[in-house]
């Protein structure tokens, strides 16, 4: 189900990823606690998806033929909100109230409160199933829309993921794309140490999905090629992109650590992080 692709300049994508990281630091400062590591690892994935590949209409959030983006790892929504605001789904000022009493924007997204959020999330393991249903419905409607479900690597231990994988293959959902952010960091450390799920490529293939391994989910060329293939190459089955990323990417003392899966930066460290993000030239 091929759809138009935006030829956005590389430097612009880089700046969008910087914007995501900056905003994650700023918004976390509002509530005093945030998933830095989980959001930094997906900054390039989000930028390539939203500024090059997804067909959406921010002025018409309920456009029936929009591509859908769902988050199994909803705790990284703090990385998505700045993108949605930047695209014009809601005013940027709304970000300033992140997590404040009554704010539509919380650590996990709420589809009824956040324009542009295609589904709520919070329970790890649910949203691939939801995405299966979306893909079924869109096919029934003869819509060209595609559904991208971003999952975490820790999420791969949820049994429901594999129920959804079975059904996606059974119904040959060529409009469904799973995107696993393999950043190696969960609440209790490296998910592979906590409960081994590798080799994930073999597992997804065995479940009937085409598998694309994205070796470096921060390299913009590789990321574009993998996601473009996943979204636009014709096939007769769903596709899973295994994106190997670095938790906390972009801030040196967070990179590759589980300790910054969740945390808070005091003023001087916040400035250090901002400086590194400004100086970064990732991908």
């Amino acid at each position: 189900m091929s759809r138009p692709v935006q030829n956005t300049p590389r430097e612009e994508i880089r700046e969008k990823a910087r914007m995501i990281r900056r905003e994650v630091v700023r918004l976390t400062d509002i509530c005093g606690s945030g998933h830095y590591g989980s959001a930094f690892s997906i900054a390039e994935l989000l930028s390539v998806l939203y500024y090059q590949l997804l067909n959406v209409r921010p002025q018409e959030p309920d456009w029936p033929d929009r591509d859908r983006f769902t988050m199994g790892k909803g705790h990284a929504a703090i990385g998505l909100y700045p993108v949605l605001a930047d695209l014009g789904y809601f005013p940027r000022e709304d970000l300033d109230n992140y997590t404040r009493l009554g704010s539509p924007l919380g650590d996990h997204p709420d589809m009824r409160k956040v324009k542009g959020a295609d589904f709520s999330s919070g329970s790890i393991g649910h949203n691939l199933s939801v995405s299966v249903g979306m893909a079924l419905g869109l096919k029934l409607k003869r819509s060209p829309a595609r559904v991208v479900c971003m999952m975490g690597d820790g999420e791969q231990t949820e049994g429901q993921i594999w129920e959804a994988a079975i059904s996606g293959a059974h119904w040959k959902l060529d409009n469904l794309i799973g995107l696993v952010d393999i950043n190696g960091a969960g609440s209790d450390g490296d998910p592979q140490q906590t409960m081994r799920t590798e080799p994930l490529a073999d597992k997804w293939r065995a479940f009937g999905w085409e598998v694309i391994v994205l070796k470096d989910g921060h390299d913009l060329q590789q990321t574009f090629e993998a996601l473009n293939r996943a979204l636009n190459e014709p096939r007769d089955r769903p596709c899973c992109v295994l994106a190997y990323t670095v938790a906390g990417k972009g801030v040196s003392f967070m990179e590759g650590t589980w300790q910054w899966h969740l945390g808070f930066l005091g003023p001087t460290d916040r400035e250090r992080a901002y400086a590194e993000i400004e100086a970064s030239r990732i991908g």
């Binding site: 589904f119 709520s120 329970s123 649910h126 199933s129 249903g133 979306m134 959804a164």
Partner: protein, 351 residues
């Protein structure tokens, strides 16, 4: 051998002509007492979900899609799948995936109707119902069959006496309890376009019918089926028929029983509770569910909140795990049949 067609407990001559036996493997060469799944399922004649959905689809409801988890035949929606295969999704035994996918289908403009055993839908799937359907307030319709102790000797693991309690705490969710086949037709047909989620708590399909035709039905309503001067039974599900039987028994003892079908469990018809207290003082609630946290508890809340006074006698399952046995024996054991309801009413009036 000559009487093979005249009947077994499962296959009376009347039934043989009434149910669809196209797929049965049991022909005249079999023993009179043999039966297969087709014959057994044909007996669930009060499970009219598929019929209701076919009638709705025939009337132009193209938005209806049906979801099940390897229980399309036992819950009687396979007939919808035969007629509308492209709108029928059998997920295999993967209830949580089914509930999430139904939510996803709803976001694309469809009205998914899930048909599954109540235990594996409402209790195994409770968290998915909460976060995927109720929290986003999606118009998914959930039909939970074989509720209460209808599964009999299949075991306590399959009994579902906790679903009202678990689900009546879910914001956005409506809870309805059609008590027979005509009530299911009425419930589904009158609420299919309701903009939020609904859980329909139904039985296994072998219930004693209460209605001769689909009754008037609305969310938040109830139906006063019989008048009585002495005491009111507010009944739900299977207990409606039991209460009607109790009324016959008690009439012989000159006790007048009012019977109300409280088919809307949430929202509850508070006026029916008020009327019962004002007219009779003593109220009996009757449900095939744990008396803790269920329908009777909802009635108690109304009585307490509104300061109605009066006394409540709760008929239902005790707060312990049910024993197993053939369903009719279980209903007798737990006093959920006509005799059982009559006994509790007598006790209530003597106190």
């Amino acid at each position: 051998m000559s009487d093979k067609n005249t009947g077994t407990p499962y296959m009376s001559a009347e039934l043989r002509t009434a149910i669809d036996l196209t797929d049965t493997t049991v022909d005249d060469s079999f023993d009179l007492k043999s039966w297969d799944m087709v014959v057994s399922l044909g007996l669930s004649r009060q499970l009219t979900t598929g019929q209701a959905l076919l009638e709705l689809a025939g009337a132009g409801h193209d938005e209806i899609v049906v979801c099940t988890a390897d229980l399309g035949r036992p819950t009687q929606v396979a007939n919808f799948g035969r007629q509308y295969p492209e709108r029928y999704f059998n997920f295999g035994i993967a209830e949580r995936n089914m509930i999430g996918a139904a939510a996803g289908l709803a976001t694309t403009g469809f009205t998914p109707v899930i048909s599954n055993y109540s235990f594996f839908l409402a209790l195994m799937g409770v968290e998915n119902i909460r976060n995927d359907i109720c929290y986003p307030n999606l118009p998914v319709k959930l039909v939970g069959t074989h509720s209460g102790i209808a599964m009999g000797f299949y075991g306590t693991s399959h009994h579902c006496c906790e679903d009202i309690g678990a689900l009546r705490t879910m914001a956005n969710l409506t809870l309805l309890a059609p008590c027979d086949g005509n009530a299911i037709l009425a419930a589904l047909k009158s609420t299919i376009t309701h903009p939020g989620p609904i859980y329909y708590r139904v039985g296994r399909g072998r219930e004693t019918p209460v209605y001769d035709s689909p009754p008037e039905w609305h969310i938040g309503g109830s139906r006063r089926l019989r008048e009585g001067d002495d005491i009111t039974v507010l009944a739900t599900g299977n207990l409606v028929a039991a209460a009607l039987q109790a009324r016959e028994i008690l009439a012989r003892e000159r006790i007048g029983l009012r019977v109300v079908d409280m088919y809307s469990l949430r929202p509850l018809d508070r006026q029916a509770v008020r009327d019962a207290v004002e007219d009779h003082g003593v109220v009996v609630s009757a449900e095939e569910h744990n008396v803790t946290g269920g329908f009777g508890a909802a009635v108690a809340e109304v009585m307490a909140e509104e300061g109605l006074g009066g006394r409540l006698v709760k008929i239902g399952m005790p707060d312990s795990y049910s024993i197993l046995g053939p369903p009719t024996h279980l209903y007798r054991h737990y006093g959920l049949d006509g005799e059982g309801v009559a006994r509790r009413v007598r006790e209530a009036l003597q106190q």
